[in-house]
Amino acid sequence: MRVAFVNTLLETAKKNKSIMLLTGDLGFSVFEKYIEELPKRYLNMGVAEQNMTGVAAGMAMEGRIPVIYSIVPFATMRNFEQIRNDICYQNLNVKIVGVGAGFSYGPYGHTHHGLEDIGILRTLANLTILCPGDPIETTLATEAMLDYIGPVYLRLGRAGEPNIHKTIPSFKIGKGILIEDGKDVTIIGTSTFLQRAWEVTNSLKEEGLSVRLISMHTIKPLDTQIILESTRKTTALFTLEEHSVIGGLGSAVAEVLTENRVNVIFKRIGVPDRFTKAIGNQEYMRKVNGLSAQQITETILKSLGRRK
């Protein structure tokens, strides 16, 4: 996803001279080409994320389109007040890019995990939240972000995520993408868990279920229409995210369901509300948290009453 992001950023920045990349001292083996081609449109701000965010706000007031970049917690939590006051309160055209969604930085420990970002950022007025699910969506989301005027948070995985889309889908901020239609179960995946959603969809199909798969690449504004449509087309709905079960996609969908008095089988599948006392790579950390494809499939089958 990082590669798709930086390539799209570079291509767009070549055309739009207002774009300015600011990094919190990260980007080794990611930004070199950008720096070489657009040295004056790049700034390493040092390990000073609060200042980076405030400076970006100041630049935006002077007409620049700053893109600030760091690992999810440092791009969204260390500088949360600057995002709230300087960017969102003033509704400025700053783009916040967090790399390392979920357990992307698995063995680094919880300081580097991105598990609460959507939850906290979803509370901020004026902020659009984009969570592309594969490199194809990342390219489209980056284009859409740079085209849109206003504050945007772009949540990225790290590297090596496979493409889930077979063709280039139509991408619109605030519109979920229907990848497959089905009659029994709806699976809504986001960000790094689009891949998992796709794997789980295939497993459920092997169990004889007809599955509707949606990529929810925008968490805010949320596509309520596609959610409600899913509750009419299928009788069960599951959200999959590499994020705390509190505050993220699952919570957002739950809000839509309860406020519309929809009666479906529903479960939020994500990282349980705890700090994990385990060390391991991304897939290991997922498994420890009940989030392997097989574990999630079992969880869903249990919710459907197909397993004890």
Binding site: K40, L43, M45, G46, A48, Q50, N51, T53, G54, V55, A56, A57, G58, M59, A60, M61, E62, G63, R64, P66, E81, Q82, N85, D86, Y89, Q90
Partner: protein, 276 residues
Amino acid sequence: MLNSKELESLKKLAKVAREDIIRMSLHAKSAHMGGSLSCVEILVALYFKIMNIFPKEPENQERDRLIFSKAHDAKALYATLAERGFFGRKILEGYELDGGRLPGHTTRHCVPGVEVSAGALGHGLSMAAGMAYVGKQDNRKFRVFTILSDGECDEGSTWEAILFAGHHGLDNLVAIVDYNKLQGFGFTKDVLDLEPFAAKWLSFGWEVKEINGHNFKEIVGILSKLPLKIGKPSVIIAHTIKGLGGVPIYMNKVSSQYRPPSEKEAKEAIKKLKKG
């Protein structure tokens, strides 16, 4: 420099601003009278003598920008902007009141001339630095001024911004610290000592001058010589007195941050201002 006529005129303007601050504090029963009073001369000097501004075209791209980082003392900014003709004085009467246009801490463009939303401490210098960076990169002539409180120099983010501006040699950036030596709940020297304050800025790559922040000759004198050094951001450490020209019993006391004047205290303070 200032001739005596100009000096008298600035002193008169400062008196009017002080009166406005006292009235706003009284009507809204509002806190932060002391810190508003301590930066009056700085603001009056900037808006009436130093800054290149366009009160009738507040968005003019050539204007010097003022980022009022110590936004809790917004009364002082509002009073100065109204006097300078950015908006009608009647608006001051709605300060912090239901349906009014002037919040206790500034909101960007709440009235013409207010550049940023601020109020959480330690944000202003970064925004000012971002503006100054663009100004320098684009060879623009405008300067960016920012007024900081001493209390907000406790914030780590302020020092991140100081490091950044020094590193990039933003000589179109001017920070003025309203060093009234009192913060929220005590004297700065007792709470979190900033000293040696000037040396800290200097070691971060800034050019520093210390002045009496109530003396127009000193303020205008130094702000007429910007940048203090080519290739470096400038900081003016303005030694001031919290609550000066307000209610005597709160002057240079923690209470000046919290106590609005009573009707009687306000009356007496304004009477004294008019006399003196």
